[in-house]
Symmetry: C2
Amino acid sequence: MDMLMFQLDKAIHTPLYEQLYAAIKSSIIERKIQTNDKLPSKRKLADFLNISQTTVELAYGQLLAEGYVLSKPRVGYFVEDIDTLAYVDMEEPSQNISPEAVQIAIDFNPGQIDTQSFPFTTWRKYMKDSIDEEKAELLLVGNAQGEYELRQEIANYLYQSRGVQCSPEQIVIGSGTEQLLPMIVQLLENEHTYAIENPGYATTHYIFKQQHQSTVSISVDDDGMDIKELNQSNATIAYVTPSHQFPTGAILSASRRVQLLNWASKNSHHYIIEDDYDSEFRYTGKPIAALQGMDQEGKVIYMSTFSKSLMPSLRIAYFVLPPKLLEIYNEMYNYYTCTVPRIDQHTLARFMQDGHFSKHLNRMRKIYRRKLEKIVTQFKLYGDKIIISGEQAGMHLMIKANHPLNALELSQLALTNSIRIAPIDNYLVTNHSDYNQHLLLGFGGIPESKISSSIDALMHAFGFKKEY
Amino acid sequence: MDMLMFQLDKAIHTPLYEQLYAAIKSSIIERKIQTNDKLPSKRKLADFLNISQTTVELAYGQLLAEGYVLSKPRVGYFVEDIDTLAYVDMEEPSQNISPEAVQIAIDFNPGQIDTQSFPFTTWRKYMKDSIDEEKAELLLVGNAQGEYELRQEIANYLYQSRGVQCSPEQIVIGSGTEQLLPMIVQLLENEHTYAIENPGYATTHYIFKQQHQSTVSISVDDDGMDIKELNQSNATIAYVTPSHQFPTGAILSASRRVQLLNWASKNSHHYIIEDDYDSEFRYTGKPIAALQGMDQEGKVIYMSTFSKSLMPSLRIAYFVLPPKLLEIYNEMYNYYTCTVPRIDQHTLARFMQDGHFSKHLNRMRKIYRRKLEKIVTQFKLYGDKIIISGEQAGMHLMIKANHPLNALELSQLALTNSIRIAPIDNYLVTNHSDYNQHLLLGFGGIPESKISSSIDALMHAFGFKKEY
């Protein structure tokens, strides 16, 4: 056959190669593609579907491994007679493929990073060096809190760049927020009410709920969480993102920081969870140290991750415990094994030790800043149609559209133009009319060279015209 | 100085290099080692302390990084003037070092594997191939249940070697029992009473307790869990290790398997958690398929791990959900991100796909079988002093010592001879006089060449003499 047409969806979680594999497989099972048909060459199919050749290679490899196709070297891939297969799964293996799925051309999802600039060669070298007969001990179970050498590097980094005061003993390494936050909830023992930011990070709300904790949502404005509202609430634990509020991008003001710490001092059961998820990237204004560094009374549990600074799929995050909670941790988790592969921890520790992490951060900060500047410049061409906020740090900002349609309608309008952008509504715990016109624009995953055209495409979708 | 004498403890979790680092550091801080003193060469210190040169290198590297020593190329390491350091942590960084700590020469701890036989070169190659610009998508968040290609490999493996019937869609990949078992508890929703084996795997009991679940302990005999006792209990979930009971090594008999499945059928809330942690290695008798394969009613949650088959520090485990629980999973964990690094998952999937996993298993099975045969042969030389059981599978067995001292006293006696071996008492949930004389002997970590001498050393510690 000449070509295969499939609708692949870059927006859903299922990897593209998996979608492609599933689509071809069901075409074979349903006899839409005949026995002995030759599949298109990898290059041609990749070009046709506008995906990478690796993606096609992965999909073909899977089909080959399962016997749906056979490979004739230097000729190509041919469809097998499926009657000869021992077992054919007649159902589609993935429910995620729908013919209606929209192809996303521009993705303003805030979870993306700039994958093009990752130091593959260096990382590969350090990973290679960690897998070695001489380091056979790394195959065995390591320290429950994570490798000491990695905690030492993290402690140094946190002190120097975030003003966090801690020893490696206070650090617990784990596989991400989903895994670490339930541990923190367990450590806090008593029945608590968690103050969560509104709008805020939905995953954490799910986790508190699943851990059977009650929550109360507290408003966020340009200065971050409203501490007056917190004081009036019955909350005992405050979950905050002070360096770059998610999703509004607000920075918790200095006076509110003091008020928040005072709130925590009021009661021995009060604690603050400071989620410093993307603080590595700050572009303007004086650097503001972490709340943890201001805390004199052991009230702040600091947490952060390498998801933004290195890669989301590495699954290395950590929290820093104040001394009192560290004691509880040591009693409660004495049976525990650290969830992060030891070889990965060793690799990261060495990468940091040799200065590659700070080098990478400095490089990425420049790249993300340039992207941000391009976004700001581009939006300015549209006059007062778009108001930007939260652009001092991180890899996302908030935009307010001066448009007769609301943000939800605008995001749907964008989608029909193959653009994904979420309304702030998606992150609201309780309704809040202040955010009717606001959208969350993540720019980490968009290549620098495509920033301006992506903004233009979004403005075009909204029906806005350049004024300058 | 000529040499440094430290007591390092191979038995505790803290890595040796960390212990060494901490010991030298506190000696420097306490001025036991003077400014400008030259540290012993790496090779000499390694020889002297009977540890690897890498361990010394790691410790020296750490001291260097923190400024406690300076390195003169081709001359050696010299102690710095600590008054010049900006910050000296006067406390010992690790509480785990005690002068009384016993050096463990022979370790029968069941958590060890044979690290010498790990295919470092192949694993390194696959890992290297996974870190590639062409596969930049692997940096981003992947499928929440784990990479589809890895789940496919696991499904194939489980079907072929364990008779487990499942599709990749039913598999959820995670970072180990400590991370996956709480997810299962959440999935089962209702308030349950968990039947746990007595003796059994202590970590799981902690987890059930921490998840606020009630437990009831059920006796184990030569045929595994006593199902009569289970039927008489108020348990609604049965946690079992049918292939090779931990720690007794008993195999759940065929009739009890049927009884256990019947127990599960009795009530719609009843479920079985089948922990198949070391089933890869079976040496004698007909292979017994997993319980899951016999289950017609979707009552078995199957779980297993790569800790024994590859390495404990890889932190890749998984569970297989029956369809009904899969539906609940899909609703409950829609916010979730898989905790296992995607590059590691990709590496393992390719390693399995190309047949290296089965090759490795076959090779290790032979090695572990030879070790086991040597153990049995060696114990026979001591007549009826030792009775062995649980030696049909896995990497540990149970021994019963015909000795005036009980197992606890024997394990203490062993420790004074630098041998670590745990009494079965350590694994008892409630007291059980049947196990007064029983010890758990793990042999995974002991090199084949040292098996016979290690058994002799243990027998010598117990005061037993060869009879043949």
